[in-house]
């Protein structure tokens, strides 16, 4: 086993726990903004058809990624370049969609500091978007290397490691798409949320006060 591949899987394992913590935080605070009466609320903002297209685009980028790798492993350099470019393009389209969504939400009055929904939503999807952006830059740099003749059949492990990262970004979105977008928000009314949320606000206020 190539050490780079092992190291990438170890990184993905740590990243899995990182996103696990972010998703857990989002789920714990789901529905709390409604209880506190501080809008805007998710059901007023989320556009399922638009996000479904974004999810489909990212899913198909995983296909183009394996086609790029498969082409390189078969010695088809031109094919690997085309599919690599297609993957970076689909990733960029996804990022454009996320930028549009963030802008729309902001214009509707939701920011990182508006309520618990805004804080947990932007943190979770923002970190995912950052991962996608890093992936796009990685793929474009590999495309640049390939165009200069530096990515040949015997270098396929280089592309495979990048592919592992890209597919991981895709599977994180599979989870986010279901938990953040598709599960209806009326299913998640928690008990005692207002008291807990107010305690958190008081706790935050005390910390801010202690720092002057």
């Amino acid at each position: 086993m190539d050490h780079r591949k092992l190291l990438m899987w170890l990184f993905l394992a740590s990243d899995c726990m990182f996103f696990g913590a972010l998703i857990a935080t989002y789920m714990i605070y789901r529905g709390r903004s409604e209880e506190m009466g501080i809008g805007p609320f998710p059901h007023e903002l989320i556009d399922i058809p638009f996000t479904s297209v974004s999810a489909f685009v990212l899913l198909m980028s995983s296909l183009t990624m394996v086609l790029a790798l498969g082409s390189l492993q078969q010695g088809n350099i031109r094919g690997s370049r085309i599919w690599l470019f297609a993957t970076a393009l689909l990733g960029s389209i996804f990022l454009g969609g996320q930028y549009f969504e963030f802008t729309e939400f902001y214009h509707e009055g939701l920011s990182l500091t508006t309520n618990l929904y805004g804080a947990s939503f932007f943190t979770l999807t923002g970190f995912h978007g950052t991962h996608v952006a890093i992936g796009v830059l990685w793929l474009l740099s590999l495309l640049f290397v390939s165009l200069r003749g530096g990515l040949k059949k015997e270098d396929s492990m280089t592309l495979e490691v990048a592919g592992l990262y890209w597919h991981f970004v895709d599977i994180v979105w599979i989870v986010i798409f279901t938990l953040v977008y598709l599960i209806p928000y009326d299913e998640v009314v928690s008990e005692g949320g207002e008291e807990h949320a107010m305690t958190m606000v008081e706790f935050g206020t005390r910390i801010m006060t202690s720092f002057g």
Binding site: M1, D2, H3, R4, K5, L6, W9, L12, A13, S14, C16, M17, F19, G20, A21, I23, A24, M27, I28, R30, I48, P49, S52, A55, F56, L59, M60, S62, L63, M65, V66, L67, G70, Q73, V145, K152, E154, D155, T158, E160, G163, L164, H167, F168, D170, I171, I174, V175, F177, T178, L182, I183, P184, E187, V188, V189, S190, E191, G192, H196
Partner: protein, 113 residues
């Protein structure tokens, strides 16, 4: 560009032995697209409202495992990699359930009733 790196031959017995064909990858992508379409469709169907949450979670789990198993080749690679990623996944889920229970919240109840 080529970097000669160390390797562990003992763990390499399954590597690149059973990679799917490009046609298989296309079929898997069609399968994933269909599942995504089903997820979005049942979101709008009122008659399945009672089973919507478990259905969505199962469908997304199928997509997750398909991408990990086939596109990330975990199904065809050594068990060490499956152990590494599986252990991290279990820890992530366990932490979520633990926090969920401590916060007396509902998401665990959606699924288990």
């Amino acid at each position: 560009m080529v970097q000669k790196t160390g390797s562990m031959p003992a763990l390499d017995e399954h590597h690149e032995a059973h990679h799917p064909s490009l046609r298989t990858y296309v079929n898997i992508a069609i399968f994933l697209a269909i599942i995504t379409a089903v997820e979005v469709a049942i979101y709008y169907i009122e008659s399945v409202e009672s089973i919507l949450v478990p259905a969505l979670i199962i469908l997304s789990a199928v997509k997750f495992l398909t991408v990990v198993g086939y596109f990330m080749h975990l199904k065809f690679d050594g068990r060490l990699l499956s152990f590494i990623f599986g252990a991290a996944l279990i820890v992530a889920i366990a932490v979520y359930i633990a926090i969920d229970v401590m916060m007396d919240h509902k998401p665990v109840e959606w699924f288990f009733g």
